[in-house]
Amino acid sequence: MSSTTTGTRPFLEVKDLTVRFETDDGIVQAVSNSSFAVERGKTLGIVGESGSGKSVTSLAVLGLHRTRSNAKVAGEIWLDDQELVTATDEDVRKLRGGKMAMIFQDPLSAMHPYYTVGAQIVEGYRVHHKGVSKKEARTRTIDMLARVGIPQPEKRFNEYGHQFSGGMRQRAMIAMALVNDPQLLIADEPTTALDVTVQAQILDLIRDLQDEFGSAVIMITHDLGVVAELADDVLVMYGGKIIERGPAADVFHEPQHPYTWGLLGSMPRLDRDVRDRLTPVKGTPPSLINLPDGCAFHPRCPYAGRNGNRSFTEVPELRGGVHAVACHLPAEEKRRIFHEEVAPNL
């Protein structure tokens, strides 16, 4: 089923992605009707709270829900003109770690405790390069370890994950993900478990490697600072849905969704008076088993009453061109609220 639009399709295009988990407590609607695209050489930031569906989305791209018998994935995922949702397990497996790779959040638990760091990278290289000798794979691995800035790579090759420091461990994970020159790299909160000073180094490293390899990068994070630093485009997710999408500069300078305002307001900033309190988004994230009727954000939205009853009954659609938002508030009203009520406090 080759597409007639070959050549015009973005490198990665996700259309109407829906991921559901059937659990004993009910159906978890983890991601609903999400669509987005990433081109080669570009970075997409996906932002949202825990449980907003950002990790589930990225695991779906890699086809990692396939081994969970209770997971149902629907929609389309096109990677370089190949559809992945309907592809066979074997076809997706061959892409995983090869054309598309992932860096995980907590490198200590993401590494196997009983295999050396080197052995784990060698294994990932050889599964995609049949016929490569162990020695060649070892040389390649040591090159990669050196490339991501690990000193004494020959020595560290034979060490275990627990013998690495947090930052070095995440560098090794990056080397593991990059060993096959992936064209799509998904980084799931790659700096969350790290010291602030190390965070910056890791982000720089990812950016440098992206420049070098020209890969498409999806950066999943709850840290808006990271997105501001790296992303070309931003998705804001809430309750399993994309609620705002657009170029990073637009989303930061002219955010249109009250939830995005809330995220910006809860960001600590050095240029603000220390006596000013942060303004967190009030309330708690919604249950994905029992999403609120209408707009999922309305129970926490300070402006939900300003548009009649639509917030409580209708699910807002993601509307707009390059910079799209799913909110019932009229555009002018939103602009006014942002500039008059929100922006002065940011």
């Binding site: 890699l62 990692l64 081994t67 497996r93 061959k94 892409l95 995983r96 770690g97 090869g98 790779a101 992932m102 995980f104 907590d106 638990s109 993401a110 590494m111 196997h112 405790p113 009983y114 295999y115 050396t116 784990q120 294994e123 990932g124 599964v127 995609h128 275990y160 627990h162 994970m173 593991m176």
Partner: protein, 333 residues
Amino acid sequence: MLSYLIRRIVNAVITLLVVTMVTFGIFFAVPTITGSDPALLYIGKTADQASLDGIRTKLGLDDPIPVQYGKFIKGLVAGRDYASGNDVTHCDAPCLGYSFKTEQEVTPLLLSDIPVTLSLALGAAVLWVLIGVATGVLSALRRGSFLDRAAMTGALAGVSLPIYFTGQLALLIFIHWLGWLPDTAYTPFLENPASWFTGLILPWVTLAFLFAATYARLTRANMLETLNEDYIRTARSKGLTERTVIGKHGLRAVLTPLVTIFGLDFGTLLAGAILTEQVFNLRGLGYQALTAIRQNDLPVILGVTLLAAIFIVVINLIVDLLYSVIDPRVRLG
């Protein structure tokens, strides 16, 4: 590493010394204190005073208990002489004394039982590890399926049914009704490997059924837990085949904790599978122990206990050393 090893060996020796002290105390000292006489146990109730006195002198039963214990330890380390007048009997190290009943030396008696128990334990261990781990892995991968339920029901039966029930049942079916196997018996492997095998297969299977059940349940639980680990997700994200993900990354993590349990089980079994040996009429250490207890044969009981302790202490040491090899996070020292 070397200092760790030395420390562990010293510890092992101390443990064994304590075991001898306690067992010696229970079996020799307590009867003396409560007024029942080990010499009487040795010679029988009809003995006259003269021969009782002779035995007391020969076995040193008139000495204070610490001296008796000292002589016992000396016998273990250097051998000892039992003397009554001109009648001197030398017992080579490691000397565990003489059986009260058969007057045989205890050490060779026990050594001759080891091959039987070792054969039984080894064969059963191979079976139960293979069957238990395979069943556990399959059950975990097909959780909730018919196979999983059947295997776990079987495992529950294995854990709950006592060996004298399953053993008797196996004897009844395979030997008396179907006649597929000869009566269970121990033939030395070097004498006739085929008879060794056919004579032991039923006890192996019965014993393995009991242990495999535990291992299947442990493996299943460990595997289910391991499959949720982040490093399994990492392995999949690298594009490894499911066979590698489960057979290599998964199994490696599942088997490591099993080593500890296996060491304990195997050590205990080497000390004598009393019930199994009894049911299948195999004359190993367990059988010896049971006979000795029935007959109040103190030196044999003491010997079996000490041997059992040695097995468990040594196997535990091996397991701990092995663990540092298979789990790189464990540091010795």
